[in-house]
């Protein structure tokens, strides 16, 4: 009978599609985030959490407090060990703060998170194995190919990769999609 044939095919294929989906999703999770945050959370954990308040304060005065998910823990360790020469600046702090921040960074680094951006950062390590800074990863460069070329042709001191939130209006909340971008002097950016 034709109707029952189609129902059988449906009953077989629907659970198959759903089951494959769940199986693929059920990778080694980490303690820090729930199952749903990977689907509906921001692609990189927001900076504004209780634990990150110290990081924001100590590391967000001179530049945007980059979410830890943008670099692997090895890179963060390197940075925290060289605060006296932090890319030409002095970023030293008291030992307790330093230890606390390092713990926060490594717990939420790209190799500790299972979200879209950290996963892409980890993949991009094939091409940039030991990134010293967020802007050095192949992932970051790929995403900013277009705007980097634009800035070369139209230098603008207001646009700086040190301050993600100049263009990424929801950077502090951990959202970096194109819809929220407003480039000074240009407006929306769609490439």
């Amino acid at each position: 009978m034709q109707v029952s044939k189609s129902i059988v095919v449906l009953l077989v294929s629907a659970p198959l599609v759903l089951g494959i989906g769940v199986a693929l999703a059920d990778r080694d999770g980490d303690e820090h985030e729930g199952y749903w945050s990977r689907w509906f959370g921001s692609p990189v954990a927001p900076v504004e959490t209780r634990e990150s308040a110290l990081y924001q304060e100590e590391c967000g005065s001179c530049h945007f407090p980059y979410q830890p998910g943008f670099l692997p823990s090895a890179s963060w360790i390197g940075i925290m060990n060289r605060l006296d020469d932090h890319f030409g600046d002095n970023a030293q702090m008291d030992e307790a703060s330093q230890r606390s921040i390092l713990a926060y960074l490594t717990a939420n680094a790209a190799d500790a998170m299972n979200r879209e951006i950290p996963n892409k950062v980890m993949w991009s390590l094939r091409y940039t194995p030991k990134p010293e800074r967020v802007t050095e990863t192949a992932f970051f460069r790929h995403e900013h190919d277009g705007i980097a070329a634009y800035i070369q042709r139209h230098p603008n001191p207001d646009i700086s990769f040190s301050n993600c939130d100049t263009c990424h209006t929801r950077a502090m909340q951990g959202f970096y999609d194109e819809r929220d971008i407003r480039v000074p002097g240009v407006g929306r950016w769609d490439d």
């Binding site: 044939k5 129902i7 494959i20 996963n119």
Partner: protein, 187 residues
Amino acid sequence: MKSHSEIKVWDPLVRIFHWTLVSAFIVAWLTEDELMSVHAYAGYLIAGLLAVRLIWGLIGTRHARFSDFVKPPTVVIAYLKDLVRLKAKRTLGHNPAGGAMIMALIVMLTLTVVSGLLAYGAEGMGPLVEFYRHQASYGSEFFEEVHEFCAHVTLILVFVHLGGVALGSLLHRENLVRSMFTGRKAG
């Protein structure tokens, strides 16, 4: 307003496939770049749906089979000419123009899905990652652009499809949308 002589035209698989595809496409459209995990899974669902529909188009019920509604271009063009003159003949299954639209949608959706998988794989995500193990650089601008282009073309097709359904419904005084829910048409 159920007439006594209503005929079963669309089997449950065709109907569920159709509306699931509609939902998945909408979800994919809305979540692109924002909720990429959801976007990708909507895409995988569309891939699965297409695979099921292709098989069903070969072995399914009468009006579900491609042989029922896929006609040569001359027939499609003749039908379109009749449609413009509001003289097109009513068919029980998909009419020739509808059939052509279905094939076009299947092709564009497939291209969208494949380019999406390839773009995703180039960033270390999704099932095609292993093919990119030896790629020289991160990401693929090319496949991202192709994916975006194909998605936009698909959307245009969807609008044309909606227009066609509206026109067909008006012309033959039947509710084609309702038929795709109930599966029945007037005899």
